[in-house]
């Protein structure tokens, strides 16, 4: 029998279904997007619900890593009614999904009147690939959670994976586990949300990396990225990558090579990082979908650090603040500019 991940957080799941049922009943939302059991034990998949009887399909567990904001920018056809126009969508949101939605609103990509954030507390997602890599060729038949362990069972094996250890790296230091509550939009959030003000972030891991010599950094980065096959799964999973024509697909002019030679890979990731500055919401979806298991979190964390230190900005907390890269201040730091001695 194939089973999904059983969680001890039945309470969260029940609350979630209750809220969803209520919202659909009172016609506050037309559709709800959430997670359902995946086709394989270690997977979850998105589901769109428009009637009360399907609400029980909704689940919430530590394998729900997809950032659902991706389905709203651009809106998938399912969220547009030919007669009524844009439907009101309820989005089951952990912290980073809520942040993504609010940041997209600050970029005028989402109208906050047309969505509803259904907040759920998240305690991190499992890094599925690491578990799969360790299991290897054997088939996983059943997955369950008990006492902070992910227990994976197959035909003739059973293995425990401590959740703390196999949690996605980015989730370990996450400070925004519930979607942010925006006081200006009282109708926006339902469920568990939280108001955030100043978020103290700890960047010791990044500082450690920065203290290396350029040669060491280059070796580490090239070593990590050299396996990249340029499948662009990271781009497809990212809620912030919504350009109609991505710079890597452009062929008039061809900015950058399309091969998997090292310089081209480095340039792809460099420019991708440039585009993420001040926009990354630290959901970690890019790393979790990477078929080669590249950890892009290091680069994303660095961006977070730059933006925090230079512009004192944390993405996705206020829909009315301009994103830093389209804004400017006369007194921005410019210590990097050449000056006469």
């Amino acid at each position: 029998m194939i089973m999904g991940l059983e969680t001890e957080n039945k309470e969260i799941e029940n609350n979630l279904r209750e809220i969803a049922r209520g919202l659909l009943k009172e016609k506050k939302v037309d559709v709800i997007i959430g997670y359902e059991k995946g086709s394989l034990p270690l997977l979850s998949q998105p589901i769109i619900i428009d009637s009360e009887e399907n609400v029980d399909k909704l689940i919430w567990n530590n394998l729900c890593y997809v950032n659902l904001a991706k389905y709203l920018v651009p809106r998938i056809p399912r969220f547009i009614d030919p007669e009524k126009g844009n439907l009101t969508v309820g989005v089951i949101s952990k912290g980073c999904v809520g942040r993504a939605l609010i940041h997209l609103a600050s970029e005028n990509k989402i109208n906050l009147d047309e969505i509803k954030i259904i907040g759920i507390p998240c305690n991190g997602v499992v890094n599925r690939q690491r578990i799969e890599m360790e299991i290897g060729e054997k088939e996983i038949l059943e997955v369950s959670v008990s006492d902070n362990n992910v227990i994976v069972k197959g035909k003739d094996f059973k293995k425990d994976f401590p959740f703390d250890e196999y949690m996605n790296e980015l989730c370990k230091g996450c400070k925004i586990r519930k979607p942010p509550l925006i006081s200006k939009y009282p109708d926006l959030c339902v469920g568990e949300c939280e108001e955030y003000s100043n978020i103290a972030d700890d960047f010791t891991d990044i500082e450690e990396f920065e203290s290396k010599t350029p040669k060491e950094k280059w070796e580490f980065i090239t070593d990590a990225l050299s396996v990249c096959t340029r499948c662009y799964a990271c781009r497809e999973a990212c809620p912030m990558c919504y350009c109609n024509l991505c710079f890597v697909d452009q062929n008039k002019p061809i900015w950058f090579g399309k091969t998997t030679d090292l310089p081209d890979i480095i340039v792809f990731h460099l420019i991708r990082a440039m585009h993420m500055a001040g926009r990354c919401v630290a959901c970690g979806a890019c790393s979790l979908v990477c078929p080669m298991g590249i950890d892009l979190n290091l680069i994303n964390r660095k961006l977070e650090k730059i933006v925090k230190e230079r512009f004192n900005f944390t993405s996705g907390l206020d829909p009315d603040t301009k994103p830093p890269m389209v804004d400017f201040k006369m007194e921005d730091a410019q210590e990097f500019m050449l000056e006469e001695d």
């Binding site: 950058f256 090292l262 310089p263 460099l270 660095k302 730059i306 512009f311 990097f336 050449l338 006469e340």
Partner: protein
């Protein structure tokens, strides 16, 4: 008639000289470079100038593409903050440059390869001094090989 001072450094000994691509904004830095020229202020012949409408026009693509295409260094120059012909082009650009510079450093690419400066149309002397400085920095770094493809 004054004798032109021609640097014969390259012909005398075959010392390696960097090639630097310089993006200069039309309104200040390009005019500044012109002023340096008409004032006969010497600056290294290593830079090749590309005139752009504003430093805000400069995309990170330009800079990284230049490095891929084998330039040893990139120099970007615009109007001083507050003096932009388009009011705020250089201020928006400054934020982009800050991020790019930090990211290049983070990736382990020598940050000195890409240099940014401000020079107004009246600062021919400053332009020459800063170009000299940038050339010196790039020269010390040596040829740009990180983006070379292995065939």
């Amino acid at each position: 008639m004054t004798e032109p001072i021609v640097e014969t450094n390259q012909s005398k000994n075959k010392e390696w000289e960097p090639k630097i691509i310089a993006f200069l904004c039309n309104w200040c830095s390009y005019a500044g470079a012109d002023l340096a020229g008409v004032s006969r202020i010497q600056y290294p012949p290593n830079i090749r100038i590309v005139r752009v409408p504003c430093s805000g026009r400069i995309n990170a693509y330009f800079i990284i593409k230049s490095l891929i295409d084998g330039w040893d260094g990139v120099l970007v120059s615009g109007c001083h903050p507050g003096d932009c012909h388009y009011i705020s082009g250089n201020l928006v650009a400054r934020r982009r440059f800050a991020i790019l510079k930090e990211l290049l450093e983070f990736f382990g690419i020598e940050p000195g390869r890409v240099n940014f400066m401000w020079a107004s149309a009246a600062e021919g002397e400053r332009f020459a001094v800063l170009v000299r400085k940038a050339t010196k920095i790039v020269k010390e770094l040596g040829p740009n090989t990180k983006f070379q493809k292995e065939w």
